[in-house]
C-alpha cells in the first residue's frame, strides 16, 4: 500500500514538473509571502517537495480536479458561491 502511494506521489510530481516545463522563461510567479519564482526555481521546489513545491502541486491538482468536474462546461461551477 505504501509503495502504491509513493508511486502515485512520484507520478504526480512528474506531471507537475512536466506542466512547469512549458512555462515561459520570461515569466515569474508571485506566491504571497513565499516570494517570486522563475520556472527553474519552481521545478526545484517541486522536486524538493518543500512548502512552495507542495503549493504548486496543490494548484495543479486542483486544476486537474476542476477539469474532471467539467469546470469549463458547467455554468454552475463558475457560479457565485459565498462562504460564511
Amino acid at each position: 500500500m505504501k509503495d502504491k502511494k509513493e508511486k502515485i506521489k512520484e507520478e504526480i510530481k512528474k506531471l507537475v514538473i512536466a506542466r512547469l516545463k512549458v512555462m515561459s522563461s520570461n515569466r515569474k510567479i508571485s506566491i504571497g509571502s513565499s516570494g517570486e519564482f522563475s520556472k527553474e526555481e519552481l521545478i526545484q521546489h517541486v522536486e524538493r517537495e518543500d512548502e512552495v513545491g507542495r503549493k504548486i502541486t496543490e494548484v495543479q491538482m486542483e486544476f486537474l480536479k476542476s477539469l474532471k468536474e467539467g469546470i469549463f462546461y458547467e455554468q454552475d461551477t463558475f457560479g457565485y458561491e459565498t462562504k460564511i
Partner: protein
C-alpha cells in the same frame, strides 16, 4: 460612518511593487467619484498610522494590499497592521477588501464576529504571474493584468456603489472571462490553473447587501 476609502499599499518587493502600482487605478476611480482617499503608502503603511487614521477618520471602505497570513495583513516591510485577537475590532462597521494571502480564512471571520460589515479576501495564497521584463512598468504587464484586474474589480465595483455580493460576483465573472479568453487562444496555458485558483479562493464574508451607497 464616512464615505472614505482607506488604502494601504506597501512597496518593498516585486509583489508589493505590483500591487502598489495597480492600486493607482482604484485611487483614480475613487477620486473621480468624489470619495475621500486616505492613502497609506510605503512607509506610511505602518501599524501606528493605520490604527490612528482608522480611529480618527472612521473610513467605511478599507482596501488592504500586502502580504498576509490566516490571522493577519501586513504593511511596509511585513509590519503587522491588523491581526486576529489583537486589533481586528478596528474593522467594526467597515467593508474590507484584503488583496492579501490567506486572511479570509481566519481574520475575515473574526472581523465579522467583531462587527465588520463585510470582509472580502482570499482563504489561501493569492498567486499571480508577471513578466520579468515588465517589472519596471507593472501597469504595462498584460500577464499580471489577467490576475490583478479581476481582483481589484471588487473594490472598483464597491466604489461604483454596488453591494458586496454583486462586487464579488462581478470580480469572479472577470476571472472567468480571462480564463475563457486564454482557453480560446491556448487551452494548455500555464496561467489557467492559477486564475482558477485565485477565483476559487476568493471569499466573501458578512453582509452581502452592504454597500457604500447605503451610508450617508
Amino acid at each position: 460612518m464616512n464615505k472614505i476609502l482607506l488604502v494601504t499599499r506597501p512597496k518593498y518587493d516585486d509583489t508589493t511593487y505590483y500591487l502598489f502600482h495597480w492600486t493607482k487605478k482604484v485611487i483614480k476611480l475613487a477620486d473621480k467619484k468624489g470619495i475621500q482617499i486616505l492613502d497609506l503608502k510605503e512607509k506610511r503603511a505602518n501599524r501606528k498610522e493605520f490604527e490612528s487614521i482608522m480611529l480618527k477618520k472612521q473610513p467605511l471602505l478599507i482596501f488592504l494590499n500586502g502580504h498576509g497570513n490566516v490571522d493577519r495583513v501586513t504593511g511596509q516591510n511585513g509590519e503587522i497592521l491588523i491581526k486576529t485577537n489583537d486589533n481586528e475590532v478596528l474593522l467594526k462597521s467597515k467593508i474590507v477588501y484584503a488583496l492579501s494571502c490567506k486572511s479570509g480564512k481566519e481574520l475575515g471571520h473574526k472581523s465579522i464576529e467583531k462587527g465588520a460589515v463585510a470582509y472580502i479576501g482570499y482563504d489561501d495564497d493569492f498567486i499571480f504571474y508577471f513578466e520579468d521584463n515588465k517589472v519596471s512598468k507593472p501597469l504595462d504587464d498584460k500577464t499580471a493584468k489577467l490576475f490583478i484586474e479581476p481582483s481589484n474589480y471588487v473594490i472598483e465595483s464597491l466604489l461604483k456603489g454596488h453591494s458586496v455580493g454583486v462586487s464579488c460576483q462581478r470580480s469572479r465573472q472577470l476571472y472567468k472571462k480571462n480564463i475563457q479568453k486564454l482557453l480560446s487562444i491556448d487551452s494548455s496555458s500555464e496561467l489557467i490553473p492559477f486564475l482558477i485558483w485565485d477565483m476559487k479562493h476568493q471569499v466573501c464574508l458578512g453582509d452581502k447587501e452592504g454597500a457604500l451607497s447605503k451610508n450617508k
